[in-house]
Structure formats: C-alpha cells, structure tokens
C-alpha cells in the first residue's frame, strides 16, 4: 500500500506541467522584424526588460536572423540566459521593406501560438525595426510599454483608428477587406506615428499621411474622440470631434454605387479671425469643413480604388446588403464602382468663451 502511494506520488510529480516561473523567463515586450541581408531570410529583434532592483530596470535588445520566425526564436533562445517567453508580448513591428514583401508568413506562426494575445499592437516602421528597438528614448521606453502605450493612447484619445493584431487578421481573412496598420518613424528622442500603412492582403502597398488619419478614421469606424485641423483663405481652426457615426449603403445594385454617410458632431476649439458666436459664421465654417472633409475622403477612396484595395471594408458592407452575393463579380467591378462620401456636420458649441 505504501509503495503504491509512493508510486502515485511519483506519477503526480511527473505530471507537473511545464513551468514558466516569472523571474526565470525572458519577458519579450516588443518584437521587430526586418529583412536580412541574405535572401529569403528575415531578421528578428526582441526587446525585453532586465530588472536590476525594485525601481530600476533596463530594456535590452537582441537580434538574430533566420528563414522562419521559429528559427529566429531558436537562435535567440541560444543567446539569452533565460528562456524566451512571448506571452506578455505587446507590440510587433515590421520594417517597411519587409512589409512590402508580405508579413503573413511571420505573423502566422505568432497567430498559431496560443501564448500570443490578440489585443497586441502591430506597427510598420519607416526605418528598420532594429533601429527603432535599439534606442531607449531617454528612458521613455524603460518599461517596454512605450510602443504599445503610444499606439493605445492615440487610438483611444486621438485620431488613430482602432487597430491591433485582431483587426489585422480580421481584415486579412475577410473576403473583401484589406488591413491597415499604424506607420511609425523614429524622430530624435521619440517615435512618431506618421500615418497609416495600407495593405493589399499582407503586402504593404502605400501609406496615408498624417493629416488624413482622421478622415480615414471617420470612414473606418464610429468613434467619440478626435480632432481635425481645417484651413481656409480667411481663417484657420481646429474642430474637436465629439461623435462620429458611419453608415455605408448600396445605392445602385449590383455593386454600382455606394454611399458612405458620416454624421459628425463636434465643436470648435481653436479658430482665428472669426466670431464663432455668430450662427451665420458657424454655418459657413460648417460648410467649409464639410467640403474639406468630403474632398479629402474622396481622395482617399479614389486612391484605394486605384490600388484595388479595400481597407474600409466596403465590400463587407456590400455583401451584408446583397442576397446571393457574388464575390468575383464584385471584385471585378470594384475599381469602377461609384463611391460617394457625404458628411453631415453639426457644430454644437464653440469653446469655453464667447
């Protein structure tokens, strides 16, 4: 009986799962991928904190190259003191060069790894990812959350649309939708979001510049915070958006004309040379902004059609509004489809003082 019990205990002990004790792992916070000098190879960079004592810790980076991300991981594991743990990964960066050749191959491995979250952020960097990860930005990045916080903060309180690993996969797998990712660039002591990288499936095909991020956001999703800079010969100002609602409808079937309607509610926060207390003036400002918004939006949609991509997911809306949707026919007609954009703007109040 005792022997049996002992055997049972031994069995149980062998049944222990693989341990990942917090202080015995290399907690990777950011991953960067670049093109390697060798053909067919990519270069991976990991960024992880080294804890020195309670208050101070430093970010370290390591680079290795290989044909697959699994290979890179093995290479890196051979260099670190503690096994690599990517469960706390919060950002993945790709250099523009690599992105132009396609990133899904790399992402697929990560997608299949149950340890990787879906609320993590992806970004495309103008410079090489290694270059971006190798700096500690005057200790701004001392906890390894700099990149993810940068994107998160901008998505929640500013003009950047809600983009993460999940939205990338969503768009990538969708029949008629293409992914978009934030486009980052290093500038002296900081990294800046300089626009959006637009993709055709997993290959980057172009960018949207900084001024148009907001326009894109209004066409991409509903949101509650954002700001738009407008200018006219006579005046200049800033519109703070309080609410934006998007609606995409087919006007002429099949797949001929689509209208995107955006309802924007906002208030003027900065303006020069005008009296915003006057309803007439406000009306005229409204008109100006509306015109500018519509003009810019048209520019965007035309650009997308020219590249034959659909980051806005118009195709998905069309599918949902068409019985017996024919994907092929739709795709053939997409570039010639008439996409109208209409903004309904309402300025509710203007600043604090009259």
């Amino acid at each position: 009986m005792k022997k049996l019990l002992l055997l049972f205990m031994c069995l149980l002990l062998s049944a222990c799962a693989e341990k990942e004790i917090l202080d015995d792992i290399t907690i990777v916070r950011t991953l960067g991928f670049d093109k390697a000098s060798k053909k067919n190879e990519i270069k991976g960079t990991i960024n992880y904190p080294i804890f020195i004592n309670e208050q101070t810790f430093k970010m370290k980076y390591l680079t290795a190259s290989g044909e697959t991300s699994k290979e890179i991981r093995n290479e890196l594991n051979e260099m670190t003191a503690k096994p690599i743990f990517i469960g706390k990964l919060n950002t993945i960066l790709f250099s523009e060069k690599l992105a132009k050749e396609g990133i899904m191959e790399t992402l697929d491995t990560l997608q299949r790894d149950p340890g990787v979250g879906r609320a993590i952020y992806l970004g495309i960097t103008k410079q090489s990812a290694k270059h971006i990860l190798s700096d500690d930005y005057n200790y701004t990045n001392s906890d390894g959350n700099y990149f993810s916080n940068l994107i998160k903060q901008n998505e929640n309180f500013s003009n950047l649309p809600l983009l993460n690993f999940h939205t990338f996969l969503y768009a990538y797998f969708a029949d008629s939708m293409d992914p978009v990712l934030p486009y980052l660039s290093k500038q002296k002591d900081a990294v800046k979001i300089i626009g959006l990288a637009i993709f055709k499936k997993d290959k980057m095909v172009g960018t949207i510049d900084e001024q148009q991020i907001l326009i894109f956001k209004t066409l991409f999703q509903d949101f509650k915070e954002g700001s738009f800079q407008f200018s006219n010969k006579a005046y200049k100002g800033n519109l703070e958006i309080l609410k934006s609602h998007l609606d995409i409808k087919i006007i002429e079937k099949p797949y001929k004309r689509v209208r995107i309607t955006v309802d924007v509610k906002g208030r003027l926060t900065e303006y020069t040379k005008v009296n915003a207390g006057d309803p007439k003036v406000v009306k005229s400002i409204e008109k100006t902004i509306k015109k500018e918004l519509e003009h810019n939006a048209q520019k965007l949609t035309r650009k997308f059609q020219k590249l034959n991509i659909d980051p806005l997911g118009i195709g998905e809306h069309v599918r949902s509004q068409t019985r017996g949707f024919n994907l092929k026919q739709y795709k053939d007609q997409y570039q010639d489809m008439d996409i109208e954009v209409v903004y309904h703007l309402k300025i509710t109040e203007s600043g604090v003082s009259q």
């Binding site: 222990c16 309670e54 469960g87």
Partner: protein, 493 residues
C-alpha cells in the same frame, strides 16, 4: 448540584462493573454516628461536613425514636432516596455522587441524603472568544447547573425540555440535552439523543469530546456542530428550532444542526444594525475565499500563467522574486508554515509573551527574510493577509479548518496552476455537498437552494422581514412572529 438518580442509560464496561460491585469503595468512610444505632457512610471530600453535622445529625438527635423508614419520610431534605435492600453497587454509586448513606444497624433499609459540598465554581465571566461590544456579556462556566440556570433564566417556558444523559464509562459525565418541545424537529432530537447515548468511552472531559464523537462525518475537517460560550446564542438557536447540549465540566454549549453559513455569522451581527451586520458577514465570506485561494492563485499565476499579470504589476512582481532560490510553491508553503508557527507559538505562550512573539515574528522575521532574499515581499503580503483573513471567522473550529484547507490548495496549484485549482475548488464543494449535520444538509440555504432562508445567511435582513424560522430545519412551528405592525408616534395620541 442537582441530584440525579439516572436510569441505566449507559451501557457500562462489564469488567469494571464486576469489580465495582464486589466491594464497597475504599474511600468511603463508614462510622458510627453515636446517635442510637445509626451509622453513616460518605466520602469526606464530597459532602458538606457542615450541613451533615448541623442539619442531618441534629435531626437524627432530635428524632431518635423513629425507625429508619419513618426517618426517611420525615427528613426535611429534597434530595433523599430510600433503598430497601441495597447492593454494594448502588451504595457505591450513590455515595460517589455525593450522598450520605444512613443506616440503622438493626434494619436492612438504607437512606441516602444528597448534601454535596458547594463547589468553588468559577464565577460567571465575560465571554473571551466570542466577545461582543454590544449585548449581554455572560459566558458559561464549568458548572452544568449554572449553565442551565443561565439558559432557563432566558427561556421561562414549559416547552423547554431538558433531558439528562450520563456519558463516559468512568467519568460518568452528565450531559443535558435541550430543545423546545413545540418547535424542534423530533427527528433531530432523536438523532442527537441516540448518538449521545451510543457513546462508549472512558472519559468525557469536555463537550468537544462529544462533538468529535457524534459528528456525521468524522473524517471531515469541517466542523459539523457549533460550540459557543454564550448562553444567549444557545437560546437563540433553541428558539430557531435547533437542539443543544451542555456538558458537565465544559464551558461550551453545543448546538446543531448547523449549516456552513452559520459558522461565518458572529452573534454580534444580531446586535448591530442589519446593514452593518450584512456588510460584516459578506466581508467574512470574502475573507474565507481570500484566505483559501489568494496564495494558491499567486503561486499558479507566477509559476504557470505570467500572461495574466497586468503590465503595471509586471515589474513589481518580477523584481520581488528575483534571487529567490525556491520555486513559488515551496516559497509559499515555507511562508505559510512560518505563519502557522507564529500563531502556534503565540497560542501556547501566556498572553503577554504571546503578543510579543507575534510582533517579533511578524516584523523581525518577515523583514529579515525578505531582505535576506528568502521570500518575496509580495508573497509575504499575500500570506499574512490571508492569515489575517482566516482569523475573521468567528467560530474557532471553522477558522482552523480553513487554515488547513489552504495547504492542499497550495500544493495543487503547483501542478497545473489555475486548472488544478479549479478542480480543487470542486473537490471542496463536492465534499461539502456530501456533508450533513445531524442528517441535515450542511450547505443548506445555498444547496438545496432555499431562497427564503437567505434572509439570515450571507446577509442579515431586518428582524421584521424574518417572520419565519429557517425551512431547512423542518421545525414544527414555522412562524416566528405572528404580527408586525409599523406604528407611528401619532397613533399613541
């Protein structure tokens, strides 16, 4: 002291009985009284010499002409007993209970008078374990008589039944079973009486002996009866329809059937306003869960699921663990054991020294072991908090059980982290589901779900809502209150 001439309620050890029957006890002092031909027998330490001399002997002196039977009839004592032809066993029994045996040499009849010495019992003290700020401050003492008085005083009703049983082959401890005839469920009463009567054990020194012997599941670490030092708590339980018993020599009354939630209800709760009482109760329940699961959750997250840790805590947790040689499971077990050591040392030592040990242990050892890099400070916080939480349970037996349950949970969390912890939780629940107290389900108002009993379980609703006794007890009279009317001041005008 009440004098019991108990019926043969106890099966006694035959070997002992035979020996007892042969001879008279050697401690019995047999002597001539010097008054006609009366002789007396008693044990000196048991009886009150003063009363014997002043009352018994004087009466004998004054009525020398009476025969022994007549003497028995005329003696002005309440506790007297006549035996025509006593055998040695009866004589032993009676005298050992504190009687004086009187016999005329000429006749075979013997008369017994109970004049036991008034004991130097402890006076009625303030409850120490179940102290309450508001409310009565009387506690039981070791004297069954006093304890019964404390209860009868509060329950002047003829429905209160007190039945005596003698338990313990050698100690012959008197146990009083109490219940209210018109309320308590007969089945519960019978179960308790049957179980008590079935005990064959040499010595019963305290009611806790009995609790352990009559529990439904003796293998379980969860207590299935509540013992209390407060007479008011016993009275409240009797009125609810429960059955209680008091033991000679024990300052604790015991009652049942109980459900698990009652172990987290302090009797204070009834003295405070119901909002506050409810808050306290919920807090205690939370404390129990915290106490059992906080350390295991920490262990499993740190060992198996670092993904779960929010970004902001990552650095704190990691740095607190660097340079610690043990895996988290061992570290947690080590710390838990340390806390238990401190508690045990504090409990064994006299109060004042015990306090010092607590402080020295808590502060000095804690700080030192963190600085020495033996334990992480986060774990230290968690372990001491969960120890603290386990002390909030009002019933001592339960808080011990909770402390014990923690250890298997910590060990389990070392296997597959949260997964095995969830299984552990189910293990505890399935064990509790199988438990009964006096044959009634232990998890009663929760499962089987009796919503109407929830008024006084996790929370305590105001008295006017609690019109009925708990359904789970299956009492005879369900209504606790026949009417309740809100009266405004204006009505008295």
């Amino acid at each position: 002291m009440r004098f019991f001439k108990t019926e043969k309620s106890v099966k006694s050890n035959p070997a002992v009985e035979q020996k007892e029957n042969k001879h008279l006890d050697t401690n019995i002092l047999w002597q001539e009284t010097g008054i006609s031909d009366w002789e007396s027998g008693y044990i000196e330490s048991l009886i009150s010499q003063e009363r014997f001399n002043k009352e018994v002997l004087r009466f004998l002196q004054d009525h020398q002409q009476l025969s022994s039977k007549e003497m028995f009839e005329q003696l002005p004592f309440g506790n007297k007993y006549w035996e025509d032809e006593p055998d040695n066993k009866t004589i032993n029994e009676m005298i050992l209970q504190g009687c004086v045996a009187l016999k005329k040499r000429s006749s075979s009849g013997m008369l017994f008078i109970h004049i036991m010495k008034e004991e130097m019992a402890r006076s009625i003290n303030v409850p120490e374990i179940e102290f309450s700020v508001i409310g009565p401050k009387e506690a039981f003492n070791e004297e069954l008589e006093t304890n019964l008085l404390l209860i009868q005083k509060r329950l002047p009703t003829s429905a209160l039944q007190i039945e005596f049983i003698e338990i313990g082959l050698r100690t012959k401890t008197k146990v009083a079973v109490l219940y209210l005839k018109d309320i308590a469920n007969e089945e519960n009463v019978e179960t308790l009486k049957k179980r008590l009567a079935g005990i064959e054990y040499d010595h019963i020194l305290d009611s806790s002996y009995l609790i352990q012997m009559i529990e439904d599941n003796k293998m379980s670490i969860f207590p299935q009866f509540i013992d209390t030092e407060r007479p008011d708590r016993i009275v409240a339980s009797l009125i609810e329809g429960k059955v209680a018993f008091l033991t000679q020599g024990s300052p604790h009354g015991v009652y049942g059937p109980v459900s698990i939630l009652e172990f987290f209800a302090a009797f204070d709760d009834y003295f405070l306003s119901w909002h506050i009482a409810s808050l306290f109760r919920l807090m205690r329940m939370f404390a129990v869960f915290f106490s059992i699961f906080a350390t295991p959750i920490y262990v499993s997250v740190i060992t198996f699921h670092p993904e779960l840790i929010p970004d902001d805590l990552l650095s704190t947790l990691t740095t607190s663990r660097t340079d610690i040689p043990f895996p988290p499971v061992l570290e947690a077990l080590f710390l838990e054991l340390t806390i238990e050591l401190l508690r045990e040392a504090g409990a064994r030592l006299p109060t004042k020294v015990g306090q010092t040990i607590g402080i020295v242990g808590g502060i000095v050892i804690g700080t030192a072991s963190v600085e020495a890099g033996l334990t992480s400070n986060v774990l230290l916080i968690i372990v001491s908090l969960s120890a603290l939480a386990s002390f909030t349970t009002p019933v001592y037996r339960m808080s011990n059980a909770i402390r014990l349950v923690r250890f298997p949970m910590i060990i389990l969390s070392g296997f597959w982290g949260l997964l095995s912890l969830a299984l552990g939780l189910m293990m505890i629940i399935s064990h509790l589901l199988g438990l009964t107290s006096l044959g009634r389900p232990y998890l009663a108002p929760i499962y089987p779900p009796i919503l109407s009993d929830w008024k006084d379980s996790f929370i305590r609703l105001p008295f006017y809502v609690q019109k009925k006794r708990p359904k789970q007890l299956m009492v005879k009279e369900k209504q606790k209150m026949s009417w309740w009317k809100k009266r405004d001041i204006d009505e008295f005008e």
